[in-house]
Amino acid sequence: MSEEHYLELCENPVQFENASSVNNVFFDEANKQVFAVRSGGATGVVVKGPDDKNSVAFRMDDKGEVKCIKFSIGNKILAVQRTPKSVDFISFIPDYPHLECSQECKMKNASILGFCWTNWNEIVFVTDQGIEFYQVLPDKRSLKLLKSQSVNVNWYMYCPETAVILLSTTAQGNVLQPFAFKSGTMSKMPKFEIELPVVPKPAKPNLTERDIAVATIYGQLYVMYLKHHSRTTDSPCAEVVLYQLPREGSYKKTNVLKLNTTGKFALNVVDNLVVVHHQSSQTSIIFDIKLREPDCALNVHQPVLPGRSIHPYRIPLTGLAAVPTQPPVPCELCILYETFSPACLTCAVCSPFASGYLWYLQVKLPPTVNLLQDKGKLMDFLLRRRDCKMVILSVCAQMLNGGDKGGLPVVATVFDKLNQVYKEYLEAEQTYTVATESGPSRGSAARERPVRTQAVIDQSDMYTHVLSSFSEKKDTSHKFIIAVLMEYIRSLNQVQITVQHYLYELVIKMLVQHNLFYMLHQFLQYHVLSDSKPLACLLLSLESTYPPAHQLSLDMLKRLSTANDEIVEVLLSRQQVLGALRFIRSVGGHGNISARKFLDAARQTADQMLFYTIFRFFEQRNMRLRGNPSFIPGEHCEEHVVYFKQVFGEQALMKQVTV
């Protein structure tokens, strides 16, 4: 069953010392850093981030108990809060002295709830009476107040990706006021109210930060509200309600995720999926808000997959305590599902060890393939994931080789979905090319080159990873193989993508292998296999086994209208010298053709009259071109002139007309 775990923890967790009386642990969701502060910093502060770049260790003076500690973006400035009224700053800019300064909050009687860095030198203090937006000037050892806003705050939440702070206001705490920050500016976004299942009387804070999460999903900012079941309504199960906060305009209640159970939950957002962990059952479920449920009302979602636990993680024992023979200990994740940030982290503190671990949560796509039976839905799901290419290709290969599920209609659906994405990418690329070619005249309209995501599965991917090996399978009926290839070609045509030559070749190979020439013939007749020179040559090579291929090939060359030389060659090789000559004359190219080629071919037929005719034709041409019937040395026709004289006599040569 282990291959059913579709969620896993990253391989290299951030390991830190457990919180204790001498050790305080802090987490900064913006930089994803864990701070371990020993004895108020005097015996060391160890900062660990998701990669080594973000890991720092330093000491600082113990000026009292640390309440909150965070680096600004890029580890430039450290902010430490030790008292309810002020925050201390230490400059960490390289080649700068470690200058320190302190800032008290402006509002009187206010106490600081926390602070967030919105830039390398911009910080927001959140107090119980409002917010204050500062710029830190490290060289002047001071802060400049950029803006402030007073409002009663119960608690706050920060979304680092969008630099949006969400404040909980009013007595019940259910009116949320978002603020957005961007390089020195602060803008107030429309506030909104979360509908509470029960309105307590008298009014008291009822909405806690545990029930709210902020995250960006598919590039949009969402506030997720975990709505526990209420006894008053008839829905006994908890659900997650999503509010979309657009940059402009007002918020919208957009999606409802049905959890179908009750209890304690934790939320994560990974790869645009909402992951909900249920503590008592030790399982997690995922939701894709773009996946429409056919049997549900609009925007009500059921879990994409059945609930599964996170893949067990084994903590390797390292250091002195490690006994080489002892296997890695499976981590007991039951302890806590403590999510500090919906961004991508889950944290578990393992009691048997004296350390804590911070993991990234990852979605493992291969197990989803077996859990989601509906292939169309599976494709929709996979196409929106980050590392989906190989999984999608393996699904395609499996679908064709398994042969049990759904058959061609399913194959068609899957191809259509893939090609839709492929088409959208090609179109974007096209518009980009056109835009850049039309010149950079309008700098404002400078477009970005469209990003080719993994979901773009083009014909060569499909050919290399799926179709070519599939077509060689001995145990699959050739009928099915051909049907699949045609289905793929149909799907490409449906979205007007030019089919690559190698796909046609594959079809032709299959048809020829099984002697299905008449089928091939009909495909060509309806131009299903588009004209091209290579295809025409391929057909020509089939002539010996299937004579009509000759005509098909010539027609194709003719339609191409750029292959007149090839047509002449083909006709000459079949000793149709007159036919070749007629043809080249009809397209007006007979002025500069090689006389020698035609005379050679005519000689080979051993038909003397034919040779005479051809010879005379070229004499007349020479006459017209140069006013002289004889061949010029460059044409290398001496041999034929000798032969002509030998057979028909010298007097048969055309005389030059002298005026």
Partner: protein
Amino acid sequence: MISPRMASGMQEKQYTPSLLSFFVYNPSFGSREGEEEKKILFYHPSEVEKNEKIRNVGLCEAIVQFTRTFCPTKPAKSLHTQKNRQFFFEAEDSFWIVMVVRNPMVEKPNKDGRPPTIEYQEEEILDTVYGAVLRECYSMYKLFNGTFGRAMEAGGVELLMQKLDKFFYRYLQTLHLQSCDLLDVFGGIAFFPLDKMTYLKIQSFVNRVEESLSLIKYTAFLYNDQLIWSGLEQDDMRILYKYLTTSLFPRHSEPELAGRDSPLRPEVAGNLLHYGRFLTGPANLKDPEAKFRFPRIFVNTEDSYEELHLIVYKAMSAAVCFMISASVELTREFCEQLDGLVGPQLTLLASDICEQYNVNRRISGPDKEPQFKFIYFNHMNLAEKSTIHMRKTASVSLTSVHPDLMKILGDINCDFARVDEDEEIIVKAMTDYWVVGKKSDQRELYVILNQKNANLIEVNGSSSHMFSWLYLLIPTLSTTFSSWTERNKGKNCTKKRERKRDGERAMDCFTTLKLSALQGVMTASV
């Protein structure tokens, strides 16, 4: 079966060619003296006296034997006499089929009550045409009965004679010798013009049906009596196509046209409306008495020799033939399953094709009577196209030109058949008609022009123009050929020519086909 036709003014009577007799024999069956009757496997008309039958068969045998001495591999194919013409065809080893056709004749009344003089027009009928008709008789027999040899193996001479009797008794009544012409020589298939995407959809449909109903071995798809897809090999399809278009479809189109037996009915499963119905097998699936028996056909008789059930299913103008191995018994359940699966899809597909077809027609403008008529045939894929022939009915195929012109076409065709080279022949016929025939590799094109006061040079000038584009012209042939020319007419006429005689304009238009062809039109090349 004499159908007299009144001719100009006088009390002259014209008789068209008609079938005198038709027989099948095998000389090896009665080689001993006195057993000659055993050679005869089938004889029409059956009421002919025994000795005459023996005499006639003997004569044919003798002629064939005699001519063999000149060329052992190619014995005589026909015998011309004043009153009739006999055609010999060795269908299988030692099995001969002979057809005797009475020459057309004119009966001129004489004065004074003397018996009328009869003039036989022995040169009016063509060997190629009736030779082809005879071969087709055999092919049709073989399609429904298998080879003579197999019948002999299965049940000896008795079975073979039974089969011959049963089949030809009815089949010969449907032969209309008076209206046979060049098209019978070709025995071609009309392909339905279609764009690539719709064609691929049909492919997809066929593949899906064959996948979900794995009993189906071969499928053929037709629209408007024109072929779109054949899973059968070319030769088998050729004869099946003939059967479908000249016998089965016309039989069923008449009740449709009459408006009764409206096939629209709600489908029980899925509650979908569809127009699908069986043309062979059960007329009504709901009928508890319905019989699930389908005609059987024999294909690939050269190698695998397969016997198949022929299910023909139709929705609107789209008809699909499903062929299933005869060893499988077809049940009500299967037919219901097929009806449920194919009916809705085919209805949808048929309306798709219809829409597409109408769009194409609208693009190419209204269908006017073109200034010229043509027959096109490609030996390579058997594609044929004729603007001379009207829609075929069950009884007779009508042509829109005088039989004399048709005869000229046949003559030209005979000339073409004699040599391998590409050729072009121009014939001046009576009443301002010109007939131009052109053969290029595997293709033949015959055009009938009505160009007043035109001379050979003019006709040749315009026709060489039009044939030099034969290659390019081909892709467009399958669309409404005439409409293309109509559409391009305007463009061209403004460009050149002051003289605008009708015929010339038509020719002119013909040459403009190259334009339309270059536009890479959306059709099949035939």
